[in-house]
Symmetry: C2
Amino acid sequence: MRATTIHAPFDMRVEDVPDAVVQDPTDVVVRVLRACVCGSDLWAYRGESARQPGQRIGHEFLGIVEAAGADVSGFAAGDLVVAPFVWSDGTCDYCAEGLQTSCPRGGFWGSVGSDGGQGEAVRVPFADGTLVKLPADAASDDRLLTALLALSDVMGTGHHAALGAGVKPGSTVAVVGDGAVGLCGVLAAKRLGAERIIALGRHAARTDIARLFGATDVVAERGEAAEAAVRELTGGQGAHGVIEAVGTEQSMRTAVAIARDGGSIGYVGVPHGSGTGLDLSVMFDRNIALRGGVAPVRAYIPELLPDVLDGTIDPSPVFDLTVGLDGVPGGYKAMDERTALKVLVTP
Amino acid sequence: MRATTIHAPFDMRVEDVPDAVVQDPTDVVVRVLRACVCGSDLWAYRGESARQPGQRIGHEFLGIVEAAGADVSGFAAGDLVVAPFVWSDGTCDYCAEGLQTSCPRGGFWGSVGSDGGQGEAVRVPFADGTLVKLPADAASDDRLLTALLALSDVMGTGHHAALGAGVKPGSTVAVVGDGAVGLCGVLAAKRLGAERIIALGRHAARTDIARLFGATDVVAERGEAAEAAVRELTGGQGAHGVIEAVGTEQSMRTAVAIARDGGSIGYVGVPHGSGTGLDLSVMFDRNIALRGGVAPVRAYIPELLPDVLDGTIDPSPVFDLTVGLDGVPGGYKAMDERTALKVLVTP
């Protein structure tokens, strides 16, 4: 089969690799219908996260079960399924609590020795604990299938950020980061009843989606000017909840500065220097909480799925460029250069 | 009147100062019956927090109202009252929400131009928003009066930490810090229903109080050995909630290391380098939250007061040395040298 591999920074390839096969009785093999490129994949692409040459990549996919191991009870060939961005055994304490990202037997797609989502097929360990079945007729609905793909990561991660930010009906929420996760954070905040959603961003294509998703205000300024703008919009106080979907020092500094006293920052941007943007003295004096981390999206899919199926939320607009498998390297380049927001891959 | 002043690091004096008087119609003057020395006062004592020469000090006191301004409605001369460690107007958004520490008109006892608690009397701004009345007959109960004094800071701060740590019935909680706040954190965690409370500490006088307050386990090790000990006590997973009551880099590093995935650190130690002990990548991967800050003890006094009055909780054992006003400088020395846990002052 063919799959995307990363050989060095900026050196993405689509190559022949061994076919995905059932190795353990709890495995299934999924033929990928939809995959995509994540903003966090760019850390590897840029060489800021180390990868071994030839390592697979891609952690978001949905597709059709092609084969199932003998111990798999929940899935059979032909099932349409979506995978969260980590696999998990479904039986440990953490899985039972809905923190599947801490499953001791869990792992990330594309880690050494595992398949990545940006390929023709994926071997899925612990299929019963990992995958979620989708209605079969969704496979023929192109727009819906794309929306459902967002459940593999960005929609669940935006939801995790909104929960971390403590969003509840009537909240004022500010969103730092205009990538797909930030935008899904807007959508999640709206879904949880936020009354006012302030999106920070300056690219019209992205802020248009933010408004479509429920942003009531857009702040185009950066740094201290952005902080001042958010304070002016909030009677000087700042936002009850802040979604931090970038992970850099500057983004965290902004998040702290625009949070209201007693508020909470829901952080889901993979930390790349953001620790140094946390001024703990300021957070202490103002009782600002920090909650979030890697999102246990497996726990959120059952909750979010009905709303995607009935159209209550539609994250599909975050995908603005579609490529075949051979177009994946170009997709990375487009996202790196910000000419694409999020790249959909149809192998 | 006489009051404690700080002139330079390690230079505490008890001096004649202008009498406390009603200046604004919302003021009262409180004659101090009980005050004390806080661990956070030691930052000033050691020169790690700047003070102006001659500045007052002490932010914990209770006493008898001596005079009340014309606009004070809730208090009259003769009332027994306890003061939280900040004053607050009682009318702003933050006061209404129970975050009195963020009151724009609030302030800290002992800040420039204000009286400190370690003196004969204190002018209390915004008395109606600040003070809490105590039953008059408590004044004749020496033990109870001392217990009630803890409501001015350490008991409410321990409660804030326990809330930040997410303590609920059945929780496993670890407490970093064996000072009065950490010990009150043990008491607060017990009160909130924690099933297992692991106190980190190696001084028998303090760990004895921890056990009296509800600690089920004591870990005497430090650093990585302490982390290993807590993990061993918790089936390898760590504590659901961690109370961080120190504020240094090492204490925060320990707090992160002993928290269970998905858990929460309730931090109330005034940050002195603790920001660098926060490994955000570890917190991200393990979904560890950080909540807390300067405790709005004014909000907690009404909740905790009945339990102190009826003996459900008795924080008075944290006071292990009693001095008169002239003994305050010696009290600082004793706390700095850790020969005293917490010094009670009876002016």
